[in-house]
Amino acid sequence: MSHRTYHELTGEDRSALASQVAEQRQKVVERLSSVKNTIAVMSGKGGVGKSYVTAGLSLELARKLSGSIGVLDADLNSPTAVGMLGASGRVRITEDGVEPVAGRDGVLVMSSGLLLDDGQPLRWRGPNSEQFVWRGTLETGTLREFLGDVKWGSLETLLIDLPPGSGSIADLANLVPDLTGALAVTIPSAESEHSVERTVRVAIEHGIRLLGIVENMSSYLCSSCGEMGPLFDGSAGRRLADKFGVPLLARLPFQTKQDGPEPTPEVAGLADAIVEMLQ
């Protein structure tokens, strides 16, 4: 059977799904037009402290800069920004958008953690079987609304805390084509180095500027002898920085405090480096 194809039919496509998607993207661009710098915090490996780095950096930037700082917690399934930044309360919906919630030092936060009961996982409404078919699409759609529907206002910097893995930075690159850049967070181990390297390569392939490497849990203060020593073997931070020709922006000691980052000279140095780089 032979018949005309989609593009050969000149009549209106009433659903215009492509146009609807384009309008969604345009909304994100317009919403972020008042944000000076949009920075992704990424890592291929989980458990390296991306959220800790994001929260600590946001607080330091809020202290150093006169403009507002925002944190978008893109780790929908394991949100931690709310707890680390002390953001709580109901999410207010108005006709022109959604108001972010103010956390410590006035950092503006949007996170799935604001939508969930404590300890409850993120559950999606939809058919129970074969959720893998649509779950990823829904997660990206939710991230799009966090970007495009939240009234971020005039921000100096919006930090986007990504979940582990390389897929999320690719999705973000599609949603935010003019991302200022990305920070890659690693721990010193060789396993982390390889994992983070993969994610950095995906970021570069999508045209994202790698601002630098942050090595977290670089050292550990022994509570018995008071000596600072290594927590892991390896020097992933230095090696990744050399491999990609970017600065090793910070080597952060392991923190035992669990209820949110406190000011440290190392995180303050990281914030200084970021501010200088973006000026």
Binding site: V91, R125, P127, R135, G141, F146
Partner: protein, 147 residues
Amino acid sequence: MKFLCVDCDEQMVFEDRTVPGDGTFAASFECPQCHRRIAMLANPMESQLVNSLGVKIGGRTLGPEPFELTRESVAGREDAFEDEVGDVATRRVTWSSESHARLERVPKFVRGMVKKIYSDYATEKGISEITPAVMDTARSELGLEGM
């Protein structure tokens, strides 16, 4: 997405969209030449995939509400949202007791949004009170079956 009447070599025209409330949706089309009608029936998984994109088959009559997809999709805290949109809509028109009862049957997480859609419709049409008849007409005109 376009539909072609192969016999007539004519593009079929979108006619109606139905959301029966069982997780599926249907869209019907008609050939402008031979008037043959067909219906595209999507199963729950296919319907969910389209919904997950945040788009509407048949096109949108009204623009998306803030966090429309998030509010429809995340099964989270009951009181997570403070909906000023619903409050603004309420001030514009009154609701008859029957229509209010019908609105009460709409799931709480989308009730504010649904309320605003009907209120905007009534405001646009110069209708001061929303009755079940107004809701039925609005549903038909706006393609809001299932609301």
